[in-house]
Point group: D4
Chain length 166, copies 8
């Protein structure tokens, strides 16, 4: 069986700093990532072509990230039957509320699986959970990941206890 | 010279009751209206084809109306050099704020001329003002329209005076 | 291979009218649905137990629906490695904004795949797309579903043309 | 035929830094720009006189930019039959929401073609699209502009691919 | 000394039902009220003329009421040195937030004394308090009014006590 | 006749930097200013005493400035028949929306004349306009002030013209 | 030991329908309730006197409920060292957001324990939990109450199962 | 009688800088503080165990602080009959509105006593007021604290008077 693959499509290269932790998290789970800059408005045909062909190109989940009137995830979802995850990017005004509503409020028929504003890492983890249906080893890796998160919280708690005693 | 033509594209036929005054207002100015239901997400290729061919089909202005994550006007604008007017439709939640932000907050490069939430009549009047550049007789009709609006305000004021005396 | 299964957990039975189209849509795709009322705050241990055992009970996707300070989807996600879809329910105040933010703004580590406010049908469709990874026949069914949606839009467009001629 | 002309009216000279890209974009399209500081509240009669005479002074589109209770575009629109584009300026509070609502929510009768908060460049592009009705060469220039935008996206995509390989 | 006079200017006659209690309250204080329908956008010159002449016509306070992009109070304030009170009218969308921000967020130089959304009665009472500077008998009447309000609260409290005993 | 007097009451000394332009503007109009720090919640009785005695102490207008759950202007208004102007102060969260709503949304019976968030200068100008009823020379000074504002706009416009030519 | 007592102060008798479940819930726990109508703005001295004397009158917790610019809970809190619970009442505009922010955003020094908009029953339950410190039998009653809530959820779940089978 | 004890549970150690003044204020009142990092989502079982045992471990009040989709206070409240105070932490987007709504909008049955966004000190003071029921000496200390706050306001007022004279 081939390796699981995720495509990360961003509306603008200026979104990449927010998305680096998405790429890094996917790699931690040994998932192949195909990242690209592609705009729903400036390169709409490329976006459509990419989405139409994603399934046959071996992509299992598409992550779309965009800011302001963030149409990219919805536009990708229009052209595929793959699950599409949307990451609302916070831009220079409106604190990301415009991006969030433009992504999450999709009309009936074409869902986008929306994560938090700038929720780059969670987009990756959601992709892992989705791919876990077909790649059961990812379920186990996610279990380990959760245990590690719990341990990290406990370590931080210990550090706080030390600090409070000091 | 051919008659001025406007296309009114709505994301859902449930938006039509809001848009009837748009059609009526355009007809008052003797503008040809081509209205259609076409979804950015359910019929994306039809939307793209329509927008790509609108100019050569004699359309001068496109009006796109949609609710919730209202991508339609932006998606149409991506495929044409014609001015696109966006009408945010108020849907069952969020009082139209989602529609407004999804339409007005377009990223640099692809503007949408946004009017008020449910601002159906103003979309028509804006189309008339835009078409006035190539069809100067519309400028004169608009001047008359404005005079009539002023007269209507004055009539309502007279009615108020009568009412207050009573 | 066993049939795909989805669990639909709602915080209150008063949310059920909104969720009926979710159940109906899942059944259209021949997906087994297990629906239950379970509160993150009033029956927290049942919620935790349910989520912990969902995977071994054959559930592939969990849908959590809740209103106001809608913690249910996030609380379910804390106890499972399955993908969890969150449906913000619009309650008597705040137009669903409180539900949306309580569900979508999950902190890093525990994503919830959020759909629109009252986006009951889209939660079902997203579940279908997610399950498509392990059940490829769902991909084909989804393709058919999308074609049918496009046809429905076209039918509504035809009806509009008739209406405008009249 | 004379050159196309656009007037850019700003409520305060402190808005100019946001608007420089509007002027620059209009000049790229070889459009004559007349920029001025003029306040709806501090110099209301000058604003009215300007708008009343704009058409006969050869202006084809008016762009009004203002912040807070941003009345300027609406006040200009009251005195002209030309299309008026409104640019909501983000000021020190409310993230531009006050400016946006004060401009876009115009009552029936007097539309303002609103672009994004601080959407300076899009105001220029919208003016170009509007003027394209009377100056067809602008349509062709806009087509070239869109091609160039698409190329720029592709270049950024190439740069991202390089970066990801490194 | 002549009687104190207040002008109540409304942007639309549809606002009058909200404003009836404003008129009634002013009359309770024996203040002469001049009410009129006058639009900042549809009859801008009449609005300007009215405001310019209000002082010499014996008006002491102007109340402006409008909804949506509610420019009327600010536009009146631009043309007078009288205090202008603004009443944001709640219209069919946005719950009056658009009206409130369009009225209260006036830029430095031209204040509008804003009251609550649909705060018709408070606009009248504020006018009375303002006029109290020149008409000291209004101060005394206001004192009586406040005593009566306190008595009414106490009566309602008594009614509640009866109700709770029952 | 004694000089006009205004009291400026602020909820916290941390608000003073925002309010300095209020004091300066009042002094430009030769109005006596009594400024004080007084909290609706920490020194409620002092606030009540101050407001009860303000009129007999020769105060003509009270300005109350406060942030967050900004009760001060409303509390002062409860104890006086003088007009009370409220200045919503922007604090570390919510961009001043909390302060604005806490001040402007006063229930029927007790109005507060609200100006823009951080609208310090406008509070002063509104006080001048209110005092103009009893001190007609302030009307004339305000007229001069408005002329000067218009001149300043024109100077800024000239500067812009120079800049654009360069 | 005397019975635990709670005072419920509402700004207007129109709030009582929302508050009936608060009274009923307190009575279920055998807590004495003293309810009154008392306005922070119309009867400010009564409000102050009530709060100042509440502790010595045997009150253990004060619940203040108010709408719009909802100052009542904060004003009561200013005059007592008892815990004050605030219930934001949803009024005719702004969906209760104004009430919520006016109550919860209290400045440092004077907290108000805020519950949900119209959260009448929760105000009662919070009072019970607070009184549990001095009246340990209330802790036990609350435990029973929680068990009963869990049982009710389970009953509703059973009803749902029946319905789904049908 | 043992000393009063408060538990302060924070969702992330990054919230501690905001919460230091909470700890400091509790210590001023000689209250024992047990602080810990514990996540509703990453360590949900630890959170549940902590809350279930808090009462028998001598805790009188639990303070839960969290940001974004801030479920922690509600989750703790689900497992205890102690009063739970919620502190919404302002995170990198949405200005704390998401945290506030996720905490305050708790459904009927499980209240959380919510204080202002980042209202760390007020959480401590509210805990003191709550504990005052069982530890009457805290009532007296709180009275002293309030007197001191009033004195501080007066000192700041004196400083302002000096500054204004200079």
């Amino acid at each position: 069986m081939s390796k699981p693959r995720v495509a990360l499509v961003m509306g603008s290269d200026s979104d990449f700093p927010v998305l680096e932790s998405c790429v890094a998290t996917l790699k931690k789970f040994d998932i192949e990532v195909e990242a690209m800059v592609c705009s729903a408005h400036r390169t709409p045909e490329k976006a459509a072509d990419f989405a139409k062909n994603a399934e046959k190109n071996g992509i299992g989940v598409i992550i779309g990230a965009a800011g302001k009137a963030a149409h990219l995830p919805g536009v990708l979802a229009a052209f595929t039957t793959l699950p599409v995850i949307g990451v609302p990017i916070k831009s220079s005004t409106m604190d990301g509320l415009d991006s969030l509503l433009s992504i999450v409020q999709m009309p009936a028929g074409i869902p986008v699986a929306t994560v938090a504003i700038n929720g780059s890492e969670n987009a990756a983890l959601l992709a892992v959970q989705i791919l876990g249906g077909a790649y059961p080893e990812l379920r186990e890796k996610m279990r380990q990941y959760k245990l590690q998160m719990a341990e990290n919280v406990e370590k931080k708690n210990q550090a706080l206890q030390e600090r409070l005693k000091a």
